[in-house]
Each structure stands twice: as structure tokens, then as C-alpha cells.
């Protein structure tokens, strides 16, 4: 009995967390999966099971596939852009060519986008990109825009503009993470490569990148999941418009559920998103274990 009590102690310690996670995480996920197999659950008084019908309907919806294409573009460009910008800016902040004061100032400026909330970012860029805004005024000097040039309302370019704003608002986290990684690389490695006559580019290719690889892999996977779930910025900028041109998957789910009241269809679409996120999460966890083993 005593032994049993002693063995139970660790489980009692983690019990509050397990209960909280079960109620706040597992139960809602289970409910969403359950709704996806019902005939408009949540809206109908007595919903009935419909098997895979909601999944078939979602897969047959051309707007869903348009949304998948847009999400793919949005996620890939955001990840590549975030990592590239992070590498460049982190190198600038890590260089010995500038004084410490200059670097501190630059660090504050570079990190600013991360401090703003999604709403502030949206309002600011909406003002910049509105037809009578600063962007058209400046581009007007070189004949690239007029006061009637539309950015968010032009369905051919709206996704590019929204992706650019997402890049701008998200890079500081990745920059700080890469900077921390750069500062962890031993200067001895660079010194010995310099003695061996390696150029800066070769040092970057054969020292910096391999040393940063575990961090970069983790960042790519985190960015993938975070960008896939992006909602606030796009919703406040364009609400998915014009004509679904910026309706990434999270907005598709929101619109289907809360504006059209098709909660079961939205649940089915959300399950697809869950599966993709789960796959990436498995890779992320494996990567973390591998880093710990190394």
C-alpha cells in the first residue's frame, strides 16, 4: 500500500496539468472531429451522423482547393522569407563591423514589428496601401502607381501584399533565434578556417549553416505550423477577399463555420488542417529528440 502511494505521487503532481489539457485541448479536438461526422451539428436541433459526407463536400468545393493553393503559397513564401530575412538581419546584428551602440539601436528597430499586435499592423498597412495612401504616393513619383491603384482589392496581387505584410510582421522572432544561434558558434571555428584561407562565403556555407542547422530546422517547422494557423492579420486586412483571393485555410474554416453556419463542414476542413499540423508536430518532436541525443 505504501509503495502504491509512493508510486502515485508523481502522477498526482502532473494530474492538474493532465486534467487541464484534457479539458482544454483533447476534448475540443475530439468534439471537432465528432462534429465533422454529423449533419450540421451545432445548428440543427437533432443532428444525425452522415459518415464521410462532410469530407466529400469539402473536397468537392472549388473554394477549398483555391484556399489550399493560397495557403501553400502563403506558407512557403513566409517560411523562406522569414528564414532569409532572419539570416541577413542576424548577421548584421552579429557583425563586428558596427559599434555595440549601433547594433543595440538596430536591434530595437528590427524587433519593432514583433511588438505590434495584429490589429495595429493591419491598420498601419491598410493606411499605407489604401488608394490614397503613402505607397501609391511614393510609387507615383516613378510612374508605378496612381491614386486609384488598388492593392488589397486587386485579386491578382492581394495575396502577394498580404504575404509581404505577414513576412514583415513575423521575421523578428526568427531573427532573434538565429542571432542566439550565431552567438553560440565558437569563434575558434572561424579563426581556423581563416587561417586555412576560407572565404567569408565558404565559412558561412561550411561553418555557419551546419552549426545553425538544428535551430533552422526547428524554426522552419514552427513557422510552418504558425503560418498555417495565421488568421488575425489576414482577416483584419482583407477578410479573405476580394473574391476569396486571400482566403487561406483558417479563414475558409472561419467563414464556413461562423458566417455560413456550416459547422460540420468547417469541422471537416479543420480536421484536414489538424492532420497536417500533427504530421509536422511529429517531425518537430523527432527533431527535438535528435538534438537532445546529439
Amino acid at each position: 500500500m505504501k509503495k502504491l502511494k509512493r508510486n502515485a505521487v508523481p502522477y498526482l503532481y502532473i494530474a492538474p496539468t493532465v486534467i487541464l489539457m484534457a479539458v482544454l485541448l483533447v476534448l475540443p479536438i475530439f468534439n471537432v472531429i465528432r462534429y465533422s461526422f454529423y449533419d450540421n451539428a451545432f445548428v440543427k436541433k437533432n443532428p444525425s451522423p452522415v459518415g464521410w459526407l462532410n469530407y466529400q463536400k469539402v473536397l468537392a468545393d472549388p473554394v477549398f482547393w483555391q484556399s489550399v493553393r493560397e495557403t501553400t503559397f502563403f506558407v512557403i513564401v513566409s517560411i523562406v522569407g522569414h528564414i532569409l530575412i532572419a539570416l541577413i538581419f542576424a548577421h548584421l546584428l552579429n557583425t563586428t563591423m558596427f559599434k555595440q551602440r549601433t547594433k543595440t539601436l538596430a536591434r530595437i528597430v528590427y524587433i519593432l514589428p514583433w511588438i505590434f499586435t495584429a490589429t495595429v499592423i493591419s491598420v498601419m498597412w491598410k493606411l499605407i496601401f489604401q488608394p490614397a495612401g503613402v505607397m501609391n504616393y511614393l510609387l507615383g513619383f516613378i510612374g508605378l502607381a496612381t491614386k486609384n491603384t488598388e492593392w488589397f482589392s486587386n485579386k491578382d496581387i492581394a495575396l502577394y501584399v498580404v504575404t509581404y505584410i505577414n513576412l514583415w510582421s513575423g521575421y523578428p522572432f526568427y531573427m532573434i533565434s538565429v542571432l542566439a544561434g550565431l552567438q553560440g558558434i565558437s569563434p575558434d571555428l572561424y579563426e581556423s578556417s581563416a587561417i586555412d584561407g576560407a572565404t567569408s562565403f565558404k565559412s558561412f556555407l561550411y561553418i555557419t549553416l551546419p552549426q545553425l542547422k538544428p535551430i533552422l530546422l526547428s524554426l522552419v517547422m514552427l513557422d510552418f505550423v504558425w503560418t498555417l494557423k495565421t488568421f488575425a492579420i489576414v482577416w483584419t486586412l482583407t477578410a479573405g477577399g476580394p473574391m476569396h483571393a486571400t482566403e487561406i485555410i483558417s479563414l475558409y474554416i472561419y467563414r464556413t463555420a461562423f458566417m455560413e453556419n456550416h459547422y460540420s463542414l468547417a469541422s471537416a476542413a479543420a480536421v484536414f488542417l489538424l492532420i497536417v499540423c500533427m504530421i509536422v508536430a511529429v517531425f518537430y518532436t523527432r527533431q527535438q529528440f535528435k538534438i537532445q541525443e546529439d
Binding site: 445548428v43 436541433k45 477577399g241 458566417m259
Partner: protein, 424 residues
């Protein structure tokens, strides 16, 4: 004599006894009412001047003893709150609703049919300016309404030498837009974002309805494919777009974008909710504007219809005191309570017996009321099945047409298909 006195005394005592019993009965009924608390889920209280809506509800409590507990949520969240409340049995007794939500709320078990309650409570239904019916039963009524007249910046119009009152037809309006655009101003604001298709109702269909257009027949079915009025309205809007008379950015603009542009004096025309008229009057003292009826198609002399938004009210299916809830609805449509709400909020009454005193309001508000009274209300999405999805589908096709991606017949056929998919 003594005998007579005894008889009189006995009679008085019997009378006193009867009176006592009657009084006890009335007290008992009052005591019963005092035990009842009706909950009311709505977004109205937050949008009224502070305390106004609660004060109106308190008037009902003072009259009947029945307490009203207000559950407030923003308009955007109310529908979901009601549907989830109906699903898990926590829905309020009385329900604030938009006309466009009625079918969804009925299907979700959030609204109860009112016709039997009208009969049981001897309710005078002539006080309701409109009754929203779904599958033949009445489920809700608009308590107050908000119209969307055409607001005109009089400074801009004066600069281009046009009298706003002279704009009667679509041709007049196109000419005014041309003059305004030629003078370097933005002409007309259209919030055509599909994420909130209010711009379909309050601008596009407002123009369509003003000229007698009708989307649905008496059975509630949609007829768009061969609807010449609808096609004409679409062609008119394409002309506005093609000529640059619609302010840029309309494909993603929301109502606030348009009203703020008009408020800052950058826009010549827009269709604001009448609640904006008081806001501009107090917040934009340099803005000089007037309101006029929506221009109608050339040569049209028939009845003019006016689009409106509203705050509707119904009773939840889960309500345990439906008769008392009906009493509250009757009270809200009484002359005094309804007028107080309309005056306080700055909107129009939903009760036919209500006669609000707008003498303290701005000249433009009074003019908007005159325009409203001269027209017949029309908002055909009320109680339509899946109204939100239908409106989005119709607006998408209208936008495809005005952007030149499909022709007018394809647009009308697509809009019909959107409605048929839901109604078949």
C-alpha cells in the same frame, strides 16, 4: 331597525370578505409574476445610450412585476451564442434577432412559433410593422428599423453646381458622379466585401428595390435568372464601376471605411445607416451634407421601396414562461416603449402605434424619417433560408459581372443557381 342594521352589517362584512379574497388573488398573481425572471439575449443594450435599454425593460417590471435580465453580446457574436445556447439548452427566454438569421435560428431550435401565443394572449398583431414568417409560421418581428438613404456631401455638389434634390433618377446620379469625378473627388462609396455582404443589401439591392425590384415571389422563392430589374441594376452598377465613379478599394471595403471617407469629406455620395447621421452631426461639424431618396431607374413612377436593417425580437423554444415573454414583446411594441427606444437610439419605430418625437434630432435625421415614411420597407433576405450564404453567393456573381469576368445573363443565372441550390 336593529334587524335591518344587522343585515346591512352582514352585507358589508360579506362584501369586505369578497374584496379581501379578490385582493389576495391579485396579490398572489403579482407575487407569482415577481418570481419570474425572463432572460433576454441581444446586442441592443450595448448599442443604445448607456442605461436606456435597461430603463425601458425596467418599465415592464414596474408594470407587471416580471423581471428582465439582459444578456449582452456584440451583434457579430449573438447568432452563434443563440445557436450554441439552443443546442445545449442554455439559451435565453427572449431572443434578439436579425431578420436574416430567422431560418437558421428556427432550424437550430432557437425560436418558437408565435402564432398560437398571439391567439392565447389576444395580441393585436396590427402593431407589428412586419412579421417574419418561415414555413408558414411567425417567429419574430422588427422592433426598430434603420434605413439607408443616399447621403450627399453638399459642399462638393455645390462646387460642381448640382442641386442634390435634383438627383431623382439613375441618369441624374451618373451625371452627378461624372461631375464630381471630373472635379477630382471620389464619387460613390460601395462596401462590396464578400466577408460581410451588407453592401449588397444597403447599396446594390437598395437601388434595385427603390425602383420596384423584387427577388422573391409570394411563396418566398427567388426569381433572378429572368429578372430584368435585377439585370438592369447590375448594368447600372457596372457603368458606375467602369467609369471610375465607385471609390477604389470597394472589393474589400467595409461599411466603416466608406462612412469614415464620407465623414472626412473625401466622398460625395454614400448610403449610411441612419444612426450615422447623428454621429456625423456631432463628430464632423465641418461636414455639410443632406440625405435624399435612392435614385430610381429612368421613367419609373411606381411605388418606391426602401431597404432597412433592424433589431428583431422573438421567443426561444426553451422558454418556460412563453406567455409572460409575449407580454414583454407586447410591451416593447407599445406606443410609449417603442417610441422611447426609437428616439433614444436614433432609429425608426417597428411598431405601427409608436409615434416618436424627433424634434430634438438633426435636420438630416428628420428628413431621413420623411423619406422612410414615403417609401415602403423592403428587405427580402429576412427569413430566407441560409440568407448569409445566399447573399455572399449573389454578391460574388454581381462582382464578377461588374468586373467584366462574366456577362449579365450568366451572372443572373449563377445567382439563381445559388438560391436554387439552397431552396431545392
Amino acid at each position: 331597525m336593529k334587524k335591518t342594521m344587522k343585515r346591512v352589517l352582514a352585507l358589508v362584512m360579506i362584501m369586505a370578505l369578497i374584496m379581501g379574497v379578490v385582493a389576495c388573488g391579485s396579490k398572489k398573481e403579482e407575487a407569482k409574476n415577481e418570481d419570474i425572471t425572463l432572460t433576454f439575449q441581444q446586442w441592443f443594450a450595448d448599442e443604445c445610450p448607456e442605461g436606456l435599454f435597461q430603463e425601458i425593460c425596467d418599465g415592464f417590471t414596474a408594470e407587471t412585476g416580471i423581471k428582465i435580465e439582459l444578456y449582452n453580446a456584440p451583434n457579430a457574436e449573438t447568432k452563434t451564442t443563440l445557436l450554441s445556447g439552443a443546442a445545449n439548452g442554455t439559451i435565453a427566454d427572449i431572443v434578439g434577432t436579425d431578420g436574416k438569421w430567422v431560418s437558421d435560428l428556427v432550424d437550430g431550435g432557437a425560436l418558437t412559433p408565435l402564432d398560437d401565443l398571439f391567439k392565447e394572449g389576444n395580441v393585436d398583431t396590427s402593431v407589428f410593422s412586419d412579421m417574419w414568417k418561415y414555413n408558414g409560421s411567425t417567429y419574430a418581428m422588427p422592433m426598430v428599423t434603420f434605413s439607408y438613404p443616399l447621403a450627399v456631401n453638399t459642399d462638393i455638389l455645390a462646387e460642381v453646381g448640382i442641386d442634390p434634390e435634383s438627383i431623382k433618377t439613375r441618369s441624374d446620379f451618373l451625371a452627378a458622379c461624372k461631375a464630381v469625378t471630373d472635379a477630382g473627388y471620389l464619387a460613390y462609396g460601395w462596401n462590396a466585401t464578400t466577408s460581410n455582404p451588407a453592401g449588397l443589401d444597403h447599396i446594390f439591392l437598395n437601388s434595385f428595390w427603390a425602383s420596384g425590384g423584387k427577388l422573391r415571389d409570394d411563396a418566398g422563392l427567388f426569381h433572378i435568372a429572368d429578372n430584368d430589374d435585377f439585370k438592369e441594376t447590375a448594368v447600372y452598377f457596372k457603368e458606375l464601376v467602369d467609369n471610375g465613379y465607385i471609390a477604389p478599394g470597394y472589393m474589400t471595403a467595409i461599411e466603416a471605411d466608406i462612412t469614415s471617407k464620407f465623414g472626412s469629406g473625401d466622398l460625395a455620395f454614400c448610403n449610411p445607416s441612419i444612426s450615422m447621421l447623428s454621429i456625423w452631426a456631432s463628430d464632423s461639424p465641418n461636414l455639410h451634407f443632406t440625405v435624399i431618396p435612392m435614385p430610381v431607374k429612368d421613367g419609373y413612377t411606381g411605388t418606391t421601396y426602401a431597404d432597412y436593417a433592424c433589431w428583431g425580437v422573438g421567443i426561444s423554444d426553451h422558454c418556460e414562461h412563453k406567455a409572460e415573454a409575449m407580454k414583454f414583446i407586447e410591451y416593447m411594441f407599445s406606443a410609449e416603449a417603442n417610441a422611447k427606444l426609437a428616439q433614444g437610439k436614433g432609429c425608426f419605430p417597428g411598431s405601427t402605434v409608436s409615434d416618436p418625437d424627433y424634434s430634438e434630432t438633426s435636420e438630416n435625421f428628420q428628413k431621413a424619417f420623411t423619406i422612410w415614411k414615403a417609401a415602403t420597407p423592403r428587405a427580402e433576405w429576412n427569413a430566407a433560408i441560409e440568407a448569409s450564404a445566399l447573399r455572399t453567393g449573389v454578391l460574388e456573381n454581381v462582382l464578377l459581372f461588374v468586373n467584366g469576368e462574366i456577362d449579365v445573363d450568366t451572372m443572373a443565372a449563377n445567382c439563381q443557381a445559388v438560391c436554387d441550390e439552397v431552396y431545392n
